[in-house]
Symmetry: C2
Subunit: 297 residues, 2 copies
Amino acid sequence: MNTALAQQQQAVQQRIEHAIKDHFRQLDDHAPRLKAAMEYALLNGGKRMRPLLVYSVGNMLGLALSDLDPIALAIECIHGYSLIHDDLPAMDDDDLRRGKPTCHIQFDEATAILAGDALQTMAFDVLANAPLSASASQRRITLLQSLVQASGYAGMCGGQAMDLAATDNAIEQHQLELLHQKKTGALLRAAILMPSQLLDIPTEHSLALENFARHVGLAFQVQDDILDIISDSQTLGKPQGSDQAHNKSTYPALMGLDGATAYLHELHQQALHALASLPYNTEILRGIADYLIHRKH
Amino acid sequence: MNTALAQQQQAVQQRIEHAIKDHFRQLDDHAPRLKAAMEYALLNGGKRMRPLLVYSVGNMLGLALSDLDPIALAIECIHGYSLIHDDLPAMDDDDLRRGKPTCHIQFDEATAILAGDALQTMAFDVLANAPLSASASQRRITLLQSLVQASGYAGMCGGQAMDLAATDNAIEQHQLELLHQKKTGALLRAAILMPSQLLDIPTEHSLALENFARHVGLAFQVQDDILDIISDSQTLGKPQGSDQAHNKSTYPALMGLDGATAYLHELHQQALHALASLPYNTEILRGIADYLIHRKH
């Protein structure tokens, strides 16, 4: 990760953690265990890749940070709820997430289910209620529509269901891509496109951002699958080899490790190519694309 | 149930089932098992009490049915998702719901978790995307804010967490009321108030509807607790005595069966009193209040 990007990521991590804590301070305490479980899950750090994308695209387009905060927080609420539910015994049955006990281990399963549910609502709460500048406020419905599209049956939930159906079943590459476009790509795409929806940018710029989002989203997933094979559990913060153990469909399983690595580099080039057509300062976004293919965890 | 109300309820049941089927017809089939689970849960009938309230208040205020449809459907999506998750093994662990296998029994636990998640998103999808008349469309954000408030930590999820915390623990009446105001009252309240938010009605009329909603919501819960003791499993469509079996806090446990019955009648009178101050034709709403205290399941 280059220096400018590393600084940006650190600033984003601090900003989103502050926004999370600030939001929870405003909630009353009628259900303290639920509140604690929600905050525990959201504050379990991670790379904050989606907020990083939100602020990076937003900064590139000259948007106010205060208009980007609710977008970043809402997307992180959706991401956080999906991790809680994915880790449940009936789903991936994971005890550890980024080296810490998962929500249902730290609390209990009923509380974890509810915490995921309430975090999903919180995402829409943030978008529906956040103070926004006048021009951004006019686009609230568009933002809500985008988050709905990325999260529900058409997006993340649908992708997760496709993943369940693909476990123990061989699927073809186009099905695996659709699965990942929905399961992880849809929310990454929302993080890239939602800031741009606060402005009227030319259609060709929107399409270039769409292209960037699609290739970066796939590259992220291909690298995830590769790391599950070549990394170790300590670096990953989760058990290495869990995809194979769970008999999941992955890119290395489909195209071999060399084939997946070559595909990753092709996606990386396409992501950079999409950025090259934009008349903005895309340095940070290029850094993110580079980082995604070189990351070790 | 009087004849006018029975007819209205039948019309509402048909209308909401049609709206549900119509919505699912528009979804593509990338995750057929998830889609089937979502539709299965939503089509498992029931009294459709929340849609009945939406259409009854909406009709009373002279609103267009096409503006009421998305409100009724969105609320029913939230209600449906909450039932799926409440029935899960880690929550109430119920195998039957209205005499049919619960979602995780009919499908599987992972699919049921996802179906609940995707139904929650669908609720916000419906409100954010439904075609509405021009005047109603201006109030979309208000509707979304109301549904968020009723569903999340401040509402239903928070109430469910309070219920978990109260199980095996004695709580006082004011805590039990707050619990139920959130767990079941908040969504019933939304069903009564959201139609009125499409219009500018005088504050005293809003307050009267609020009062009606609060008392009807509590009466509904008190009657639920009473029926769990005095009814039988076949009439209820779920195991009689399950509150006691789960050691739940209930009104009869707190104030005795006679005390709870007296309280129910007091709430009923207060609900009717609130309606009496409204200059609309409140016949159907009075019928609903009467029905709620006389119902057998």
